[in-house]
Symmetry: C2
DNA sequence: GTCTATACAAGGATAGAC
DNA sequence: GTCTATCCTTGTATAGAC
């Protein structure tokens, strides 16, 4: 019984994408060689170039996969919902994402630090639209007197920065804390701290603040 | 009258360091060539290698200059001072630093994202000591009932992440905001927002909350 | 002290065997 | 569809002229 070619292709592609993500994080785009990626994926170098016709191409594929995963986790929020509950869930979700996919967060961060040459378009269209929508909802909550009068954009930026920090600055946080990795207690503590401080900071109370 | 050799050396070194910082930010360590740096510094390539004997050496020099500037701006805080005032000043200071030296923040961030291979030692010694000291002061404030019971380490991380974000993610923030650069109004608004939310979030009020 | 010319290595990409 | 061998560019670093 012949194995379908499509399956091999798919499996190899995924192996390469995972390996590439790990290597790009450690050494940057230029610092990563196709040989590194091939070795990590346990495939010959030419094979990697066979699936993704160029290094640049492979890098963009890695970025796209990350952006897709990122966007898929952007929960919808409606002004009819309770702001404390919505923001609480959003923050906890972002922390989970950061801890679960640190490499994704790191590559995304590196790309933006370098001026976002491959993400400018995504930000000008998709992200800006998403942000405007959320801003509108938060402004509605403020108008309804449900929370303090703060700049909605800044609030979103604060949530992004404070949550992603645990992925991007992992090396710093673990080193000064003298730890090898985050354990589940750490993660819960991070979530509680951020929810407590940010929600209280904008005049909200977490839903079940146990 | 002969120009002192030391002056030329110093001036060229500074020009090279500035050029290197700008290039390393845009393309990363491996992605930056000595030719790029030499062109940006308006000097021949061999001249750059004459002053800093290797590329790695030059990169470490850039990092050291950054770490030094960073550390010199770590204000002292004492438990006898008013926590609201101290944290307010610290946050405003960090925002100024981020806006004034975005490249420094970006290179530092990139280095940590990649696992801090050249900063591990600095973090294990200098930074950890600094953090422990601040933690002690914040714990004293909490014990004195002057602020909410929060994890002091997390509070420091929150201040670092939220302030540095405006430097590191400049490209994202400016793009979604449809701006070319931060103006002085933006900077003041950022400071007010962060001080307001973070201080209130830990049970403090800014000193002169105008 | 400054710069030109060059040795030498690494890596991306392709041609073509299997 | 998969992989070996190779071409060619780029880039670090040095030797040595001025």
């Amino acid at each position: 019984m012949k194995v379908k070619t499509g399956r091999i292709r798919e499996q190899n592609s995924l192996k390469i994408l995972a390996a590439a993500e790990a290597e790009f994080v450690k050494h940057g785009f230029k610092g990563t060689s196709m040989q590194n990626i091939a070795d990590a994926a346990e495939l010959p170098k030419a094979n990697v170039l066979y699936y993704f016709s160029s290094k640049k191409n492979l890098y963009v594929a890695v970025l796209s996969a990350i952006a897709e995963r990122w966007d898929s986790n952007l929960d919808d929020m409606h002004e009819s919902q309770d702001p404390g509950e919505v923001l609480n869930n959003y923050i906890r979700n972002k922390v989970d994402l950061a801890i679960q996919y640190p490499n994704a967060s790191k590559i995304y961060a590196t790309e933006i630090i370098q001026g976002a040459p491959n993400l400018k378009e995504h930000m000008r269209t998709g992200l800006r639209t998403w942000l405007r929508e959320k801003t509108r909802v938060i402004e509605a909550w403020i108008a309804q007197g449900k929370m303090d009068r703060v700049d909605p954009n800044q609030l979103i930026f604060l949530i992004w920065s404070s949550t992603q920090h645990y992925a991007d600055f992992e090396a710093q946080i673990l080193t000064v804390s003298n730890k090898q990795e985050y354990d589940s207690d750490d993660v819960e503590q991070i979530k509680r701290f951020l929810c407590q401080v940010i929600l209280k900071g904008v005049g909200l109370t977490p839903p079940g603040n146990a």
